[in-house]
Symmetry: C2
Subunit: 456 residues, 2 copies
């Protein structure tokens, strides 16, 4: 085994195809349903929203889908990303485990999000689209799409949840530096925004409202499409470059993971690292134990129901079968904005239902304890979202120590925390809190599940 | 010539020795003088301030000085850093020039500063030091030393200019996440701080005051030393890993620079990229035109005097011969905190005097225009300091177009601007200004040069 701490690949090692887990699943994914009819939707239903190439990927069952050269060309800006052996963390934990982490914070937007933003911008450009609308909460996804749009000369309109728009002027400035336009949501530029403002002029917005606004502005204009930063199959697909690169890097290290840990909000960074390995296992390759870590404040996989639900609060999206807390569920304002989503990527939900993925949740304090320990050992401050993966990996490493076993633990450090220092300040000041949900509260949010889908 | 956009090396390509330009200069550098006697200082004079290994490096004339393995081991965390071919910027400029940039923003602190912070922390630890004091303005240097201190279990005390301490809580939180202590300067923890506060309780501090406080707290305690982030010979030495790696990467690209551009504050990132190439030239190798870019707001090299001066406002430091605007010169609060220093690294000053380095200055607006153009083409938002190198490189590329020549232009992108979005917001809002200095103003600041050195 090598004694390196970092495994670097060359540009030519960037994967030439995305890996599609659907090809290897023991059963086909449940169809996406039209909310009006309860029938499976057609590509034409989605055409006003997404470029056709993306729609085809959403429903494809091909194992590999070629990455267009212009996309790979832009990925080269920061990919292949490094794989680290966390030797100093291992020493700090005094563990017999071998801990590896893939680091996606090297992208100019500081997270894994540009992997799909670049692909979605490319297909939009190719199909003559002039403008992409999207929503952003904390700002990671909006930043990634702004960055990708600049490369293809596309206009990017970002509906940014108003409370973040006001609290995070630097995130806005980041997007604007790439030429994007940020609009505080709810806004008076859409019907859904105006409706919210009429009812509550002081509304600080929500991700659900921002999605409705972005979707509305996309379908209104022929030259405009919409882009989503997680949840959907094509987004998870675009993130599989992460796991594929990691496989090559672990070959350099002459090692293979016994355990893979990822954090899950919509599921895209998790799927990015885990699905290529899961595919190997499903095709008869080496076994691997896969752990999905989510926040106790938004326990979609661990406490939600596997059912058809809307992707947004305004009920403008199709229905997908996923683990959901109900589209009316509003998670508290905890510090991992990227994981504050009521649903879960359908493919992550399905693999969890099949027992191929093992979900687990942690509180904020547990996550930040782990994040600070990691920073002091490895020199990188993780994003609050990534801290969920860090704590999961550390717990597994401690188990190894207790068992006297020596396992290889791999996790995805999906982004750095340099834009999230307020969260760390609140942690140091002892200001973090966690919400305990009663059975009744969870049941109430779930009581609003769409009836049309109950039959499905 | 290769068609890559990024040249990556492996861990084993990290240089094993630092390169010392003094070995190749046509004349020895002027000695550092004791401010009381006007005589050259001895290593013993400096012993209360710096570890002995660092003092030896400061005065060494050996061409190569071995990098200790534990230092290389930590550099591996982010080194070798990538070299980029700026193909999209070339296209945007429609230039026949080949533009390359070395990117130091991949370090966890976001700049080149950790290259020396790690070395200085290592030597302190090796000599039994428990604690390092330092000053920081905008926060880049304090962050780098906090990061390095965490690796060696050293206490780090950062005197942070009070106005920044209050305006930049996130920078503070970044340092504190690595376990460092930040003190707002002027403080009541030192004699120099108390003297300032007695005169002006509302003082918002200055880099000069913060240096005096950090130096005072280092010399007071036997187990404590002081660390400086630029200017001195050993700091410039530690940065030469940048240029040495770049040489290997340009070999991969089968190219060699005709022009090298760096931004200069104290001179360390500039020397890091330029001196290894300058050494080649001085030893009879290929010619290269080297340009040092500084802010018009703090025109040390272009309008200062080459003379002996103090490094700090409180006159606690030895005297060094350098380009200086006078130690009482207070630059306006423009947005490139790392370049707001009244002096210049003595070795950069000397090479400029010898005609080996060509200085040039730009206004804020020119720098940010170039930075935004660069960001849209290359996807990275540069630090305001780095924008000075960007504008210099772009101007040279435009010259190539006008001349119809095809030169290779190399510059150092010494850090990203993710912590500097306020500067970009002020730029977009048209709020940047530049100070014009009259001959009288500059002469007045210089009239305070120390008399003991006038003879030297």
């Amino acid at each position: 085994m090598s004694d390196s701490i970092k495994y670097l690949l060359q540009e030519s090692d960037i994967p030439t195809a995305w890996y599609n887990i659907i090809a290897d699943l023991p059963e086909a994914p449940p169809p996406v349903l039209h909310p009006g009819t309860g029938q499976p939707i057609t590509p034409d239903d989605l055409a006003p929203l997404f470029p056709m190439a993306v729609i085809e990927q959403e429903v494809s069952s091909e194992r590999y889908i070629d990455i267009p050269e212009p996309v790979r060309d832009i990925l080269k800006q920061w990919r292949p990303s490094p794989l680290y052996r966390a030797r100093r963390l291992e020493q700090a934990l005094d563990t017999s485990a071998r801990i590896y982490y893939k680091y996606e914070g090297v992208s100019p937007a500081g997270s894994h999000k540009p992997n799909t933003a670049v692909a979605q911008a490319f297909y939009s450009k190719q199909e003559g689209v002039k403008r992409i609308t999207t929503e952003t909460g904390a700002g990671q996804w909006g930043s990634a799409l702004a960055f990708a749009g600049a490369f293809f000369g596309l206009e990017i309109e970002v509906y940014m949840v108003k409370v973040s728009f006001n609290q995070k002027p630097y995130r806005r400035a980041f997007m604007e530096s790439f030429g994007a336009t940020c609009i505080a949501s709810p806004s008076d530029t859409t019907e859904s925004g105006r409706a919210v403002l009429a009812e509550n002029p002081d509304s600080t917005g929500s991700l659900g409202i921002a999605i409705s606004e972005a979707v509305e502005r996309a379908v209104q204009r022929d030259d405009t499409r919409y882009a989503l930063g997680s949840v959907l199959n094509h987004v998870l697909l675009h993130q599989t470059v992460i796991g594929q690169e990691t496989m090559k890097q672990l070959e350099m290290a002459d090692d293979y993971p016994d355990i893979i840990v990822g954090c899950t909000g919509g599921g895209s960074n998790f799927a990015g690292i885990a699905f290529p390995f899961l595919g190997e296992k499903l095709r008869g390759g080496q076994d691997v134990h896969i752990i999905a870590v989510e926040p106790a404040n938004c326990p979609t996989l661990t406490k939600g129901r596997y059912a058809y639900d809307f992707g947004d609060t305004g009920h403008l999206t199709p229905l997908v079968k996923m683990h959901t807390l109900g589209s009316t569920f509003v998670p508290p304002g905890f510090h991992a904005g990227g994981l504050r989503y009521h649903g879960m990527g359908p493919l992550v939900s399905q693999t969890a239902e099949l027992g191929l993925v093992h979900p687990r949740s942690y509180t904020q304090a547990e996550c930040f304890d782990a994040g600070v320990q990691f920073a002091k050992a490895e020199g990188i401050i993780p994003a609050p979202e990534a801290n969920h993966a860090v704590v999961g990996a550390i717990e597994e490493a401690i188990k190894c120590k207790e068992e006297g076993s020596s396992k290889a633990i791999l996790f995805n450090l999906c982004g750095h925390g340099n834009f999230d220092m307020q969260a760390y300040m609140d942690y140091f000041a002892g200001k973090l809190y966690d919400q305990e949900y009663s059975e009744e509260e969870l049941a109430m949010a779930l009581s609003g599940l769409p009836s049309v889908a109950a039959a499905a």
